[in-house]
């Protein structure tokens, strides 16, 4: 049983116009087996939260805390966070020229587990996982994300999710740019990881479409760097029907 606890998190970035506060006091708790959805309009700080959890150097935490089972996550380097069991499926996975998928997956798995995976079982495991996500076998020999389509990149992110078996995963707009088939395949991957590893999930999305495949236990509405409202799956249905206007109006009135 693991718990990721975010308390009153404030995050800023440096821009050409000076320092800008993006997150203005976010508190969330995600435990093993739970599925949380964060929804919100563009620019509300959803992706900032994801990147901050993973430790992207661009984001500066000015106050608040993130802990994983009591350990201070903010003190950790990005690789230490991954080794501790956090995983971020990125919105825009980076191309790494010249590094093959095979090499990359094995190196990362070794780093996370602290020992090299057994060659024979590992190869089979990768092959099976790729098949389930309908990723062509020849991707293994291609360079990481290089020349992949948007949908292919997202599938490869989920492939890593399944192989690395994190305790808590953050999915940053994993549904964006996916057609309906790809969306189903990717969602199945996430659901498998839940069932098999009792993973906790923080699903960041702009649309409710993916929530038809990955049923959230909790829905948080994110507006202007804060959680504006929390609820169960029914909150997503309401957003589907009415959009974010109600929350945006509240902000501009304030």
């Amino acid at each position: 049983m693991s718990t990721l606890e975010i308390k009153d998190l404030h995050v800023s970035i440096e821009t050409d116009q000076g320092t800008k506060e993006i997150l203005k006091g976010v508190s969330l708790t995600i435990s093993s087996g739970e599925k949380h959805a964060i929804m919100g309009p563009n620019g509300s700080g959803k992706s900032t939260l994801a990147s901050t959890i993973a430790g992207h150097p661009r984001y500066e935490v000015t106050s608040g805390s993130i802990t994983l089972d009591g350990e201070d996550v903010l003190e950790m380097e990005p690789d230490e966070r991954a080794q501790a069991g956090l995983f971020l499926a990125m919105q825009y996975p980076v191309e790494v020229p010249g590094v093959t998928m095979t090499n990359f997956l094995r190196t990362a798995k070794t780093a996370i587990d602290g020992e090299a995976p057994k060659l024979r079982t590992w190869t089979k495991e990768v092959k099976d996982a790729m098949e389930k996500l309908r990723i062509d076998a020849d991707f293994a020999n291609r360079n990481v994300n290089e020349g992949f389509s948007g949908g292919e990149k997202k599938r490869v992110e989920i492939l890593q999710l399944e192989l690395f078996k994190p305790k808590i995963a953050v999915l940053d707009e994993t549904d964006s740019g996916l057609d309906i088939d790809a969306l189903r395949v990717v969602s199945e991957g996430v659901n498998r990881a839940h069932e098999e590893n009792n993973m906790g999930t923080l699903l960041i999305t702009h649309y409710t479409r993916i929530l038809n495949y990955i049923k959230p236990d909790y829905v948080h509405v994110f507006v202007d760097g804060k959680v504006a409202e929390q609820g169960g799956p029914e909150l997503a249905d309401e957003l589907e029907a009415n959009g974010y206007d109600r929350f945006l109006a509240a902000v501009s009135a304030a």
Binding site: P78, M90, V94, G98, V99, A108
Partner: protein
């Protein structure tokens, strides 16, 4: 720099006037003041540029076999201004191969080739010798002048070699001069891979000319795995036949100074030619690669990609990529790119992609050059997957250079080069 104070009626008119550090009364001295004085670096409109000769179009660059037309360079010539001339003196002197004809010749040549290949020698006036390669600098003229019998390796028409032709060139002793001229010919519709492997120590002056027959498929891989005290100047010229395919890969890891000119032109139309290069410079190494793609006939394709990594205080690399699309070369498609990864303070990479286009009727032409440190986003992506920073860095460097190694397509060579790179990276505990 002397600081001449010169005042007229209380106003400075001497060097004291200058407000940009590093300037003198005669303009910019920035470059010359900081690096060894062997190369003066021309700026734009600044003083030192005045003496640069023939910095104009590549089309006007002199070539030929007459040594008198290639005097000792003084370092201000466009084609020498990046090169350490003092260290290159041993290959620029008008000197025959040391101990020629004896057992003590400083460079040893071993050729291993499949049966179909014919090996012989060529005198200066025997074609195809000197029909493809036109010496473009003093070193190249000397290499040819002092090679009486050029090694001639011929792949007959229609032969498809299943094994590569290996030419091992081994220097025996540092400081001793060796001259070489090698002629590689691939007949019509043949298929062959030539691997030139340079090892050991010598002052080596080596020309290679490659005649690629119509429809042939030829790869030339030149590995510079010299010892740390070797000096190597060379010119590799190819002429690519109709509908042929040609690939040249240069991998330079060793040597104190390596200065390679690799060039190609076309005999007809429909050909596809590529040049790839990989270099890894440590402290004390000067690795210089110059490529020249001469689009002299219509409807051909070219691609050039050179990648380099530098680590260590005085590591130095130079890449000059010239592409000339002549008036006749309509329908040309051309691209060239150089990328450098600078790993430590003090290393210096020069990168000059020159592109001259004399016709508007082309498919496309472009060039790119980038020099930088690791991309922070690469590092973050890998670290977010649990890979520690040092390993992530190694991965990125290896991945960066792998793109070239992958072009070699000779598995055992690729593996041994991977190992070499691994060692290069380890030396510095990255």
């Amino acid at each position: 720099m002397t600081n001449t104070e010169e005042k007229v009626a209380g106003v400075d008119v001497g060097e004291r006037r200058i407000s940009i550090p590093g300037f003198t009364e005669e303009g910019e001295q920035l470059a010359a003041a900081k690096v060894d004085t062997e190369h003066s670096h021309g700026g734009l409109g600044e003083t030192q540029r005045k003496t640069v000769a023939s910095a104009g179009s590549r089309a006007n660059r002199h070539t030929g076999f007459d040594l008198a037309e290639f005097p000792q360079p003084n370092g201000r010539e466009e084609e020498w201004r990046f090169s350490p001339l003092k260290k290159l003196a041993g290959v620029l002197s008008d000197e025959p191969t040391a101990n020629a004809g004896t057992e003590d010749e400083p460079v040893d040549y071993q050729v291993k080739a499949p049966e179909a290949v014919v090996i012989s020698t060529l005198k200066a006036d025997q074609a195809p010798r000197n029909t493809v390669l036109q010496p473009a600098d003093r070193a190249a003229v000397l290499a040819t002048k002092h090679t009486e019998d050029a090694l001639y390796i011929q792949v007959p028409a229609d032969a498809e070699l299943d094994e590569q032709v290996k030419i091992d060139i081994t220097g025996i002793k540092a400081g001793l001069r060796g001259n070489a001229h090698i002629v590689l010919e691939a007949g019509v519709n043949s298929k062959a891979t030539f691997v030139l492997e340079h090892r050991g120590s010598a002052n080596f002056n080596g020309n290679v000319e490659i005649k690629v027959g119509d429809g042939a498929d030829v790869k030339v891989i030149s590995l510079q795995r010299w010892n740390d005290d070797a000096i190597h100047a060379g010119q590799h010229d190819a002429e690519v036949g109709r509908d042929a395919s040609y690939k040249h890969v240069a991998v330079t890891l060793g040597g104190e100074v390596v200065r390679l000119n690799t060039n190609f032109r076309y005999a007809a139309e429909g050909a596809e030619a590529e040049m790839y290069g990989l270099y890894f410079a440590d402290s004390g190494q000067h690795l210089e690669h110059r490529t020249f793609v001469d689009h002299n006939t219509p409807n051909n394709t070219s691609n050039v990609l050179y990648k380099g990594a530098l680590q260590g205080e005085s590591a130095r690399t130079v890449w000059i990529g010239d592409v000339l699309i002549r008036k006749a070369a309509e329908g040309t498609d051309s691209y060239e790119k150089n990328e450098n990864l600078v790993l430590t303070d003090g290393a210096r990479a020069d990168s000059v992609p020159n592109l001259e286009i004399e016709t508007g009727v082309i498919e496309g032409a472009g060039h790119a050059s980038s020099t930088g440190r690791f991309d922070e986003n690469h590092l973050f992506y890998l670290m977010a997957r649990g890979i520690p920073e040092d390993i992530a860095r190694q991965l990125v460097v290896r991945g960066f250079l792998n793109e070239i190694i992958q072009k070699i397509e000779v598995p055992e060579l690729e593996e041994s080069l991977q190992e070499d790179l691994e060692n290069e990276l380890k030396i510095h505990g990255n």
